[in-house]
Symmetry: C2
Subunit: 168 residues, 2 copies
Amino acid sequence: MGLFTKDIKTMNDLFVHQLQDIYYAEQQLTKALPKMADKATDPQLKQGFLTHLEETRQHVKRLEEVFKMHGAQVKAVDCPAIDGIIEEADETAGEVADKAVLDAALINAAQAAEHYEIVRYGSLIAWAKQLGRTDCANVLAKTLEEEKATDKKLTALAESKVNLRAAS
Amino acid sequence: MGLFTKDIKTMNDLFVHQLQDIYYAEQQLTKALPKMADKATDPQLKQGFLTHLEETRQHVKRLEEVFKMHGAQVKAVDCPAIDGIIEEADETAGEVADKAVLDAALINAAQAAEHYEIVRYGSLIAWAKQLGRTDCANVLAKTLEEEKATDKKLTALAESKVNLRAAS
């Protein structure tokens, strides 16, 4: 998409643009998640990040599948939102001195990324259905369910253990 | 918070840092929402952005109330995540030529901001309770409910009308 060229003329263009955006975001997350796993102290949180890294690699492959199903070029476009979310996660984590508090901050950072993806996949699925591409919507829905499940696991881990330790 | 100084030593420090982050984010959204309302074509969407602008101004005031209740300085810190979300919204909107498609893109952009806030307020409320500040948690919970309600209204508007028009 070119600057000042208004390349998005149809819902289909918007759908493809958003695919390219989330394709970039998922790729950035495959780089960010190992660093978050390294920083995490709680073994369950560390393992959770590594499990989600494997899922995220699968999400990248699923997006490539959707590009192909839809006859669109497999391509990523810059996504300032995920860059900002990851930058903020790095900055905040870099400021935390206590390991238990850092775990709480890492969960909060990861949930910001999850919710970003939940919104984007939600829109992509709605748009795919509107475009008559229920085949693409079904593939994208698998990823959305995994993002939602990860978000719930992170909340459960925060509430059952991590926040308690961080505040003690 | 200073660079390389690891100023966040306790859960309380993390809570205050996150208050400062969302205080900045809400202020940025009071600037972004009027622009989104200007760009929106659908009258219901335009009005929705203006209504949420009024709510957002109230959220800024509620945060100032929480800072004071907690005995912390009313202060904002840069929040690269919301900056990235708003930058991406501007970039994508600038690339859309069709008004009906632009409405769909604007809803998607607004929902990214809403979900960012839903995560942050969710963590803030959990941390406030852990710190024994149910008074702060109760004030923050009012805002969280409004963010969730706005997100639901945006989904309903997209699915009932905007996506349909954008794809036609």
